[in-house]
Amino acid sequence: MTRILVIEDEERTAREIVGALNEAGLFTRHCADGAEGLQLALEGDFDAITLDRLLPGLDGLDVLRDLRARGNSTPVLMVSALGEIDDRVRGLRAGGDDYLVKPFALVELVARIEALIRRPRGDSLEAVLAAGPIRMDLLNRKVTRGSRPIDVTQREFRLLEYFLRHAGQLLTRSMLYEAVWDYKFDPGTNLIDVHIGRLRRKVDFDGEDPTIVTVRGSGWKFDAPR
């Protein structure tokens, strides 16, 4: 049973978040106060926490710092109306695992929570990454689908690697962009789409089972047919 602690003081936002997480099959516990939230996070066994940045009682950043100082390493997704780069950096430096700026799409929040819960295991140790028909040789930078070699660019390699590490999960445009490109900015919608489209044409030929599938209005998912 996967449990998410939602620390959010704004009632309506909280209801939406809880609703979306429940719909995705995740159990939630909601709390509107920073100090109480910290207590719950320390006592309860949660798989992830969404933490609002501005809270009554105890500020979100302080909750996070306290939590980390007490050795609790539950993944935390910071949610904030403060979207400037500095705020993001502060949030991540205080021990946040991800940062989401309001207003956000609920699918984005769910996708990011899912990604936090199922974090990839020790990536640097593996030499080969495989999911479904795709096999990636991380050392020699070779990709094959079954026996067919796939020629990808360096960027496409990183993109595909991210897909494979998060196989089965919904990945949004911004998640993919943040994971693969080094510069922080908000690219328009179609730029990422074009890159994914290109990769998909290389990975999924006509007649083959599609591995990179579009999730309408939200993003993509690596589906590994077994």
Binding site: T153, Y183, V194
Partner: protein
């Protein structure tokens, strides 16, 4: 203009202070002159008294009576008064009565006054000053002389002093009134102008007399500030108008769409599609807001604190790699001409975003079959050239203003904020942004500062 107001002006206070100083210095000066003059006159007078007394004292006793009589007789104005007494105090000769007299025989001059007993009232005697001397054989000599002249000079001096003092004080105060009322009038004029500005007329300026005095300097400074404020308010208003315009369109579209879906009813699937469209519209509105906030953030300059050394080569390579598929998708040829340029100080994310915005524009405005060239030369000059329609004439000046969009862009997605952000980023870094209209197409150039 009320006197109470006048009294409070700094000029008036200054004048008052100077008046006091003037009075003080006039008093000192006149006092010194008076003191010196009076002392000189008195000394002369006393010397004359003493020398006449000495003259008689030096005369042999038998001639002394004659000498005194001579002195008195030779004085047609009866200025001299005098008497010679023997050692018992009996008057031997003279035109004053016998003892007691208000005088001591100490050989020094003393004021006797106007109506001293014994000196008589006859004649035109004014104030007297006299000397009493005991002669060698015990005789006593008393001599006095009219001292009016000395006193008159003294009084004249005093009157001149008082008159001068009153005159100069009056002049100073009058000058102060005139000058401070002049300054008060100017301040009132400024006050009126400021009132008009405060009530919303930002085109008003503080009056400048043109004399280049302190008031003018102050007015010039304030006027320059006002001009800047007017410009900023104008910018904000223009931006506000543009926000209203650019947001009203998608908001209206959103509303119409939702209204239509509600009216039409129909199956759930139709509602779902309408909702998806509505969400897309909302996303565009949010993106516009986000872009606005980002520009404000960049313009606020706080990001300069996070400047690091930026590898331009890598940045431009990434940008090329990032946009090449999009250009290909849009049927455009994409070329990157990248030279090894030194590092620059800056914010890599913002610089990437700026270059991305230029490339995004190029892709958007260049018709299929065109060519886009991204280049970086050794001097750190980043250029994005396209073979699109180029900039409409007269558009260049407006180009960098927020929300300015060419007519051709009306049907394209975008919020008109892209180039504003590029300009803001360039300004933040102290780089220059220029548009080269060499046909065909447009060439945007960011000149960085390498090294």
């Amino acid at each position: 203009m009320r006197l109470a107001e006048l009294r409070k002006t700094s000029v008036f206070r200054l004048i008052l202070l100077f008046s006091l100083l003037l009075v003080g210095s006039v008093l000192l000066l006149f006092g010194f002159v008076y003191w010196q003059t009076a002392a000189l006159l008195e000394r002369r007078f006393d010397e004359q008294l003493a020398s006449e007394a000495r003259e008689i004292a030096r005369t042999p006793p038998e001639g002394q009576v004659g000498a005194l009589d001579n002195l008195i007789a030779s004085d047609p104005h009866e200025d001299w008064r005098g008497a010679l007494f023997d050692k018992d105090g009996q008057k031997l000769t003279g035109n004053i009565e016998g003892w007691p007299l208000p005088i001591v025989l100490d050989g020094e001059s003393h004021d006797i006054g106007r109506h001293a007993p014994g000196f008589g009232r006859h004649g035109r005697h004014g104030d007297l000053r006299g000397i009493g001397v005991t002669l060698q054989d015990g005789r006593q000599l008393v001599l006095a002389h009219r001292a009016d002249e000395v006193h008159e000079v003294r009084e004249t001096l005093m009157r001149a002093l008082a008159g001068g003092l009153i005159g100069s004080l009056a002049l100073a105060l009058l000058g102060g009134l005139v000058m401070s009322s002049a300054s008060l009038r100017r301040i009132e004029a400024m006050h009126r102008a400021a009132g008009a500005i405060r009530s919303g007329d930002l085109s008003r300026r503080l009056p400048v007399a043109g004399s280049g005095d302190d008031f003018d300097k102050l007015a010039d400074i304030v006027n320059a500030m006002l001009a800047e404020i007017e410009r900023l308010v104008g910018d904000i208003k223009a931006a506000g108008d543009n926000i209203a315009h650019d947001l009203r369109t998608p908001l209206t579209r959103l509303r119409t769409r939702l209204e239509g879906a509600l009216r039409r009813g129909g199956p759930t699937e139709a509602h779902r599609l309408a909702m998806e469209d509505a969400i897309a519209d909302t996303d565009q509105i949010l993106a516009t807001f986000k872009a606005l906030l980002r520009i404000s953030e960049v313009e606020a300059g706080a990001r300069r604190a996070g400047f690091t050394s930026v590898d331009l080569l890598r940045l431009i390579q990434s940008a090329a790699e990032f946009f090449e598929p999009l250009a290909a998708e849009s049927g455009l040829a994409f070329t990157a001409e990248i030279a090894a340029a030194g590092p620059v100080r800056g914010d890599p994310d913002l610089l990437f975003e700026a270059v991305a915005n230029l490339l995004d524009n190029a892709v958007k405005f260049t018709p299929p079959g065109g060519q886009i060239t991204l280049s970086l030369d050794e001097d750190g000059e980043i250029a994005v050239a396209d073979t699109g329609p180029g900039l409409p004439s007269g558009f260049k000046d407006r180009l960098l203003q927020r929300f300015t969009r060419g007519d051709r862009a009306r049907h394209l997605p975008g919020n008109g904020l892209g180039l504003s952000l590029v300009a803001a980023v360039a300004r933040l870094h102290g780089f220059s942004l220029a548009f080269d209209e060499s046909a065909p197409g447009c060439r945007a150039v960011i000149t960085t500062k390498v090294g």
